[in-house]
Amino acid sequence: MNGFALSVSRGIARVTESALGPYQSAVIRIGFAGTWLLFLLRELPHRQELYGPDGPWSWDLARQLIADNGAFTALMWSDGQFWFETVYALAVLASVLLLLGWRTRTMSVLFMVGVLSLQNRSVFMGDGGDNVLHLMSLYLVFTRCGRVWSLDARRAARTREARARGERIPDRVGPVLWVVLGAVLVAVTAAGRFDSDWFVPALLWGVWLAQALWWVIGRYAKSYEPRVLLDVVANVIHNGALFVIASEACLIYATAGWYKIQGSRWQDGTAVYYPLHLDYFSPWPALADLLAGNGTMVMLVTYGTVIVQVAFPFTLFNRRVKNVLLAAMMTEHAVIAVLLGLPFFSLAMIATDSVFLPTSFLRRLGGWVARACGRLFARGGRTVPEGDPGEPRAPENPEPSHVGFTA
């Protein structure tokens, strides 16, 4: 009993004292923002057909469906061309800035608004990749995903250095951003445009008010206690969100795997042959024929896919096995990207997988990228600060029994 109480208190200390998995949360931030950014750029020539007011799924059709399902989309605020182009451009901008980690929390909210606005505007254009991004953009808002590998981290380091020298660097951009976004929130609410389900508007207002609270407490609180409490709350929410993200990944694989087991084609070992022969998923028919030409090969891949998907959640209890499966799944997704012509679905899944990457690997990866950028720009990879700004936690989780993101 005593041991139980001890481990509970140790657990509470862990989830309150820091935002766990700084590298994992940073890599998924970069992964999801990058995937959505590439998608938006790729679809730039098709943006009108996909989401524009006069596209096949016209503004009026969308209005009727959304009146029914209550999904959130800023594109319903006006049926004008100018508004549509503005939202698309802002969605691109928010992806870039979230990727770079500039004002990460605010950008994660704007990123979510961009993803939801476009996807909910034309729900019948999406596939599994869009579905992953949709959910993850919501979850990312709750994380502190800009602690490393971000412009925010660099700014934090500079502020710390300045403070050590006894200087003050006032933050002017933050309050300006807050005021501007607040004005937009007030205007939209006053105009009665938040007629969707209450959740997203409440989230937007909540984050905006929390930022004000954060600033006020940081500036005017007499004692350190309110600040520490806010920090603790932010950590707890981050850790909860990261847990939800990791669990969501497990649910994806478990669902995909367990339903396959029930399918006769996955049982008789021919399932993989079929998607390769669907016109919509066979950009390389000759290659598909080559791969599908050997029955034993097809059966091994078919069974292997099911085994990996069903097994993955359980392998989280063993770091080594988990890492092997992770590598297998990422490879499979890379192959799917090309073979089935699903690049953005695969990218989104690889980004999801990377929440399980080991910290030691991510730090090495960061080092490589920083060096490569350094060589590329000669002046040094400045957006990828080396080392570990303000998060000197144990790089690898020493407790093998711990499940999830730090391992």
């Binding site: 939800v244 669907l278 016109d279 012509g341």
Partner: protein, 263 residues
């Protein structure tokens, strides 16, 4: 929804506002994270790493409350998502409404990726039209195989567009899901699906210049052609590869639509 499945992204049924308790919104690190809050005037102070132990009882209760609320919210959410993706069962039959209220509209998901069985048929959507040509005569075009056009656009393409891979495919799934066996629309979604598919085929016919210069599309007829994927060479299965057709009634095309839309 998934790469293969068609209509799952369509939220089903009227939406009732979800009852998700708002997660306590996370504060923004306005100023740099952890050690300092506002670099402008923050004196050295113990940061969270000192842990809740550094707090007085009042604040410790606040921290404990935060842990409890977040833990409950996360677990309830995951439970709801689990029940949403699980097969129909005792619990979902009893509490389906509560689960739907939590999940829709923003947390809807479907991960039956090529499961339980991958699609084993190629479904081609084809269209023909009555067009009035520039000289005033009316003629009926041949069948345009729009899915084959999509397939050709995807061939050899490293980055297929959603307009080629999802648009028509999912519009057809949406239509079949919202129409009865007599091809009559069911409910609001049935009508929406019809208008949507009509606008897609008119758009594609415009691109194929089906009406010719100065002509206009007056009405369209859509059919699907379903062919089984032939079984693999090494298999001794026998599957008919004769195509099956589903023919929809003619739909008139509103004048503004025949000319307008995205080009």
């Amino acid at each position: 929804m998934d790469a293969n499945d068609g209509r799952s992204n369509a939220p089903e049924g009227p939406h009732v506002p979800a009852q998700q308790p708002p997660h306590p919104p996370p504060p923004e690190p306005q100023a740099p994270p952890q050690p300092s809050y506002d670099p402008a005037d923050a004196p050295a102070h113990p940061d969270a790493r000192l842990g809740v132990a550094a707090l007085s009882l009042r604040y410790q209760v606040g921290a404990a409350l935060a842990v409890a609320v977040v833990a409950v919210a996360a677990l309830v959410h995951l439970g709801m998502v689990f029940l949403h993706v699980a097969p129909s069962n005792t619990v979902t039959k009893q509490h389906g409404k509560a689960i739907d209220e939590w999940i829709y509209p923003e947390f809807e998901q479907n991960w039956k990726l090529f499961a339980p069985n991958p699609l084993q048929q190629n479904i081609e959507v084809q269209v023909r039209a009555d067009v009035r040509t520039a000289d005033g005569t009316t003629r009926t075009t041949g069948w345009y195989d729009l899915s084959a056009e999509d397939g050709a656009a995807i061939d050899g393409n490293l980055l297929p567009s959603h307009t080629e891979q999802n648009e028509l495919r999912r519009a057809w799934d949406f239509l079949t899901a919202t129409h009865d066996a007599e091809n009559r629309p069911v409910g609001l979604r049935g009508t929406l699906a019809e208008t949507y598919l009509r606008r897609i085929v008119v758009l594609r016919l415009g691109r194929d210049d089906a009406a010719g210069p100065g002509g206009a599309v007056q009405r369209v007829q859509v059919r699907s052609r379903t062919t089984n994927v032939p079984p693999p060479e090494w298999s001794d299965e026998q599957v008919s590869t004769t195509p099956e057709y589903r023919l929809l009634p003619w739909w008139p095309v509103p004048a503004d639509e025949a000319a307008g839309g995205v080009r």
